[in-house]
Amino acid sequence: MRRGDIVIGGLLVLLSVAVWVGAASFEAGTAMVKTFSPAYYPRFVAGTIAFCAILNMLRSYRTPADGIAPEWGNWRKLLLCTVVMTFQLLTFEEAGFFPSTWVSLTLLLWILNVRPVRCILISSGFVLFIYLFFVRLLQLQLPMEFFPAFFGYS
């Protein structure tokens, strides 16, 4: 955990520097002479992050190494599921709610070792529930067209 804390601390210091530099472009209006400009508050927060991050790094450095590292578990499945989630994100508006959600949910269930028939049934039930509750009952807008760009919907 000690190494992880030092790495995270270093990243936070870099973030603070980036925010400090980025805030330089925020223009202060003439009314801001005696009060905070748009850059002041983010810089104050960034400066405090850098201070606390360095403090935490020093604290971790002075603590004896415990040999404990984070357990990442089945990171390959995590990566695969993240790809599926990103797929749904990218196709939700392009392909439409029904195909995007159904395919993504089925894949996620299958990756998590749910039997194929159950995957299909659960995904179908979920999509139907969302359609009935969110779209029909609550009249919320979801992209309902099927591949709108391909089929030429306006």
């Binding site: 925020f26 990442w72 089945n74 939700f92 509750f133």
Partner: protein, 492 residues
């Protein structure tokens, strides 16, 4: 007495009673669904109330408002997916209780506390509307800033042994809230030219990511077959003796929630944060908080339902909305030719006392519906994590999307999920970040407005009595928490 008879007689027809039942049922579902919450539910129902008479319309909307504040706790407790922003604090102790096989107890204390908080604030609304309204108008930027800082100070007490990591998490949360258009000057800050960031980072997608999606990632990587042992699943009820033993905390939480509700703009989320901190500070078992404390769940739920009555105080007496939902309710009232404000009590006592009666009845019906629903929700808890995790992702996806109809919010939710997962792996607490996201905007805007008023002088924060009192309590609370933490063994 005459006015009371007038108010009660408004409900002596089947339409308002049916409207209350419908409002409570819809409210519980709306509150439980991530992405939907009381303001959304009320806004969606308003067009349907156009053809109804005023009392039936108010019965539907107020019942939904009341029940939605409770509904958010259900998914917060059972699947670590807060249905409403205010339920984020409920998840802190509610979900660990589920992991211990005590989902039934958590759900029951949630409904009992919510009902008590709601009834308590209704009584306060009835008895003290006018004098309490004067408190509401005392709050300016100076007091709002101090209230925000007080809310942030609880981070130190919530992160025992990890206060430095807690502060870092909170600071990152404050930084995230600076993304978007500067509220005072209109400058774009850290938007990188992306229109989806012009309005800043919405709280809901980040909350869903930090709580729900990070939990989904945990399930995926640990391949848990069952979230907890089958034998440990219980439908424990809360005994009357146990509930009675929490009466002081329950009352304190309800008072805090009511007062916070009265302050315009300080909604249920802030109420539950402050109540949670206060009850933890005075609890005989503070070490249980964050690990599955019934008292923690009770504090949040009593407070967030108590904000309902509190938020109606400035609405009815001054015509100022006390929360986002009451801001939408003003529209509903005006549609019915009812104009909230000082003259409402004298010109339309039937409406005012009708509202009081509706709130009483809605809370009682919500209690019944909540108790009946516990068995159903306990079935959800028994579902295999392999099935539940994708469904939680699916619901969160839809919830984040329907917030603004933007796929960008879903992207933010996924990034927040990744961030939450990494934070948990490296032992960074999530709660301080959530608190900072709730309070960050209010703190910055109030600070800058206060400094504009004082021409740049920070003394304004101590010359206001209310502000000075809040800051004094904040300093004492922070100093005590850090001192206590430094005395205890080092945390990893």
């Amino acid at each position: 007495m005459e006015n009371w008879m007038l108010g009660v007689s408004q409900l002596a027809h089947w339409q308002p009673i049916l409207a209350i039942f419908a409002g409570v049922t819809m409210g519980i579902f709306v509150g439980a669904m991530p992405g939907l919450s009381a303001p959304t539910g009320v806004a969606l129902l308003i067009p349907f109330t156009y053809g109804l008479n005023p009392i039936t319309s108010l019965a539907l909307l107020l019942s939904l408002y009341t029940a939605a504040e409770y509904g958010g706790s259900i998914t917060a407790i059972t699947i670590a997916t807060p249905g409403t922003p205010a339920a984020a604090m409920t998840a802190v102790d509610g979900y660990p209780l589920t992991q211990k096989g005590q989902a039934g107890r958590a759900l029951r204390i949630s409904i009992y506390s919510s009902t008590f908080g709601g009834l308590f604030s209704t009584i306060i609304l009835i008895l003290f509307s006018i004098p309490l309204a004067r408190v509401a108008i005392e709050f300016g930027p100076v007091e709002y800033f101090s209230l925000g800082v007080f809310g942030l100070s609880i981070i130190a007490s919530l992160t025992r042994g990890l206060w430095l990591k807690g502060i870092l998490a909170a600071l990152v949360g404050l930084l995230i809230k600076t993304i978007g258009t500067d509220p005072l000057t209109g400058n774009q800050r850290f938007t990188f030219g992306w229109p989806l960031l012009w309005d800043g980072v919405s709280f809901l997608p980040v909350m869903l990511g930090l709580f729900a999606i990070s939990e989904v990632f945990f399930v995926i990587t640990t391949e848990t077959k069952r979230r907890f042992s089958e034998t440990s699943i219980t439908t424990d009820k809360i005994s009357w003796a146990e509930f009675w033993s929490l009466r002081k905390s329950l009352l304190r939480s309800s008072i805090i929630g009511t007062i916070v509700g009265i302050v315009p703009g300080a909604g249920a989320s802030i109420g539950s944060i402050i109540a949670y901190n206060e009850i933890r500070r005075t609890s005989k078992n503070p070490e249980e908080f964050g690990k599955g404390s019934i008292e923690g769940v009770m504090a949040c739920e009593a407070a967030n339902n108590a904000t309902v009555g509190g938020a109606l105080v400035p609405l009815l007496t001054l015509g100022i909305p006390g929360s986002g939902t009451t801001a939408i309710l003003i529209g509903a009232l005006m549609m019915q030719n009812i104009f909230p404000g000082p003259l409402l009590f004298s010109r339309r006592p039937d409406i005012v006392y009708g509202i009081f009666t509706i709130l009483f009845v809605a809370n009682i019906i919500m209690l019944g519906a909540g108790i009946l629903g516990v068995r159903f929700w306990l079935r959800v808890v028994r579902v295999s994590p392999s099935i539940l995790a994708p469904l939680i992702f699916g619901i969160s996806f839809i919830g984040a999307y329907t917030l603004n109809g933007s796929i960008g919010d879903v992207g933010i939710m996924l990034l927040a999920g990744l961030l939450g997962f990494i934070m948990r792996k490296f032992n960074y607490p999530l709660l301080p970040m959530v608190i900072a996201l709730v309070l960050g905007y209010m703190v910055e805007v109030s600070l800058r407005r206060a400094l504009i008023l004082s021409d740049g002088s920070f003394l304004i924060f101590v010359t206001s009595p209310l502000s000075a009192a809040l800051l004094f309590i904040t300093v004492i609370s922070l100093a005590w928490a850090i001192y206590r933490d430094l005395k205890s063994p080092q945390a990893p």
